[in-house]
């Protein structure tokens, strides 16, 4: 274990992540509120944040659960949302080959959009794998801890916040904050347009299947647009949500 750990890089990673946690706090709070609203006990709501550790999956699970969607549909929706981790995992994998199993498992567990975004450049540019992994784990640990604190705040605040504040609107705003910067080229705009139209057109589908179907429509549109516009040869990965 020790051969893979650099204390100074761990602390550096933790420090660099601190400003990012600020943006995560409202999202974590809403996840706590949402889990309670979906009928979870406080312990289950916190366990969800500790184990799942993915805002998008947690909030969708909570919303679908509250809407009475079947178990399989909730799981399938969370599965589609988690597909982006395949992309991050593949981007990090080449740099982690020399790292032992336990550390790779830890890196995987702490892999989030924010942790990926803040460390991928370092993995690409520095060959000090020990420092890079420690840096990643330092940042990832801070995120994980901040996520639990925010969830607890949400669990406690859920009962107190008046409905007139419309706190649930924070959810689309969080996703919007991640979505808007992605829309910087034609392909991304096509993906957005198709997914948006599909989400509206399919809204009356049973069991809340419209989200998965609209997402898949957007993905297919993106692949087709890549081909038609002659792009899609790059494998550059961008952080999503």
């Amino acid at each position: 274990m020790r051969t893979h750990f650099s204390r100074s890089a761990f602390i550096e990673g933790a420090r660099d992540m601190l400003p990012m946690t600020v943006g995560l706090i409202p999202f974590g709070i809403v996840c706590g509120v949402g889990a309670i609203a979906a009928g979870a006990s406080p312990v289950a709501a916190l366990a969800m944040s500790m184990i799942v550790f993915s805002g998008a999956a947690q909030i969708i699970a909570a919303q679908l659960l509250a809407a009475g969607a079947p178990f399989a549909v909730i799981v399938l929706s969370c599965f589609v949302i988690s597909l982006r981790f395949l992309m991050y995992s593949a981007a990090l994998a080449p740099y982690l080959k020399p790292v032992d199993h336990r550390w790779r498992n830890l890196v995987a567990f702490l892999l989030t959009d924010q942790a990926f975004a803040s460390s991928i450049r370092r993995f690409r540019e520095s060959s000090d794998i020990r420092a890079n992994v420690s840096y990643f784990v330092g940042g990832g640990s801070v995120l994980w801890l901040a996520w639990q604190i925010a969830t607890i705040a949400g669990i406690l605040a859920g009962a107190v916040i008046p409905a007139s504040w419309q706190l649930e609107f924070v959810v689309p705003l969080c996703f919007l904050a991640l979505l808007a910067p992605l829309l910087h080229d034609r392909t991304a705009l096509i993906v957005f347009a198709i997914a948006a139209v599909a989400a509206i057109a399919l809204n009356s589908m049973p069991m809340r299947l419209s989200m998965i179907c609209a997402g898949l429509a957007g993905i297919v549109a993106g692949v087709v647009a890549d081909r038609v516009l002659g792009r899609g040869t790059t494998t550059e990965v961008e952080p999503g949500n």
Binding site: V52, A57, I60, I74, R84, S89, A195, I219
Partner: protein
């Protein structure tokens, strides 16, 4: 009980997706078509989540007009997100716009 099953299953799916190429398929290259498709997952899924949450005034009632305060607030917030790339600022402006619009319009 259902919620605990959900936590375990969704947790396992997320962990498996994160482990995928780091551990599970560490010796394999990602197929190029899959790599291309996955690049579009964030924009596609985020759109599929965000759009229904802002364009419907009530369940099943599409409101693509200035009377839909959520839509207007989201457009303002979307511009802020695109221009400044700041989550907290986006949330603050979006919620502020929603509250203001509800006071004066709704």
């Amino acid at each position: 009980m259902l919620i605990w099953a959900l936590i375990v299953v969704v947790g396992a799916i997320n962990f498996a997706a994160r482990l995928s190429f780091i551990v599970l398929f560490a010796r394999r290259e990602m197929p190029p078509l899959l790599a291309r498709a996955l690049r579009h997952v964030p924009a596609a899924m985020l759109t599929a989540i965000v759009v229904p949450a802002i364009v419907f005034a009530a369940p099943g009632e599409l409101a693509l007009n200035a009377g839909n305060v959520k839509l207007i607030a989201a457009l303002v917030a979307g511009f802020v997100a695109w221009r400044w790339r700041n989550t907290l600022l986006t949330i603050a402006v979006g919620m502020g716009a929603l509250w203001l619009l509800q006071r004066f319009v709704g």
